[in-house]
Symmetry: C2
Subunit: 122 residues, 2 copies
Amino acid sequence: MGRNRLFNEADVVQRATHAFLVAGYEGTSVGELVTATGLHRGSLYQAFGSKRGLFLACLRHVVTDRSGDVAMDLVLVALLELAPRDPEVRGLLADQLDRRGVTAHDLGARLLARALIHPSED
Amino acid sequence: MGRNRLFNEADVVQRATHAFLVAGYEGTSVGELVTATGLHRGSLYQAFGSKRGLFLACLRHVVTDRSGDVAMDLVLVALLELAPRDPEVRGLLADQLDRRGVTAHDLGARLLARALIHPSED
DNA sequence: CCGATTGATGACCGATCGTTCCACAATTCC
DNA sequence: GGAATTGTGGAACGATCGGTCATCAATCGG
């Protein structure tokens, strides 16, 4: 029933992911997500419910499909900004970090690289 | 010349630091900093110039005086939220991480602990 | 064709954001 | 005792925030 969606959810999630991992969660406004995804506010909220809902979709997507820096950076954002106060995010992350065998060293190394800091030796 | 300050800058910076490391940089509003420090907006801006200025003061303070989780958490916040887009923060962090011999593993381990995630083994 | 349902579009909302400003108080120099 | 300077207290600012809503378009079952 009802009208068909004009957008591909996977594409939207991927574009939103890019916005989030550049500016972080709090640093990315819904207006920027609207621009990045090409969706209008109404459609975004109809599809994902909230900014947090969209972020969760990004996290789930990245956590199942992606690997490499994109996945790692979104995980970093989630760990620092959301996990301390959001049990659902925490659960997603704990499960995934364990499953992928991501180490503390991996996280720290990527955090430094993302911050454009290149340690002398560690 | 002029009136004397009624507040102790070190105390103010310490209280602001606490606010920042709980909620992150973007997640902490100036209103919350006003509450946390006890200063009024006027005094805060006169003393530190901006929210960023206050954060820089916290970072410098923590970087010279503190060690342990408080220092590490503020460094994490700075690394993830500010360093990618703020060369001054980047410089402060690079210098300090090197001087203290903080490793990627140290950063990652504290990031996980702060996120309330306890890895099985790494 | 006719309701019912879902998506698209974008104006609109109150709340909150970081910042500025101004009147007033205290301190210093002449 | 002014004049100059610095700090205090808090109202006010425009901008932006995340989120809602009403209207219209498309697609379905009957």
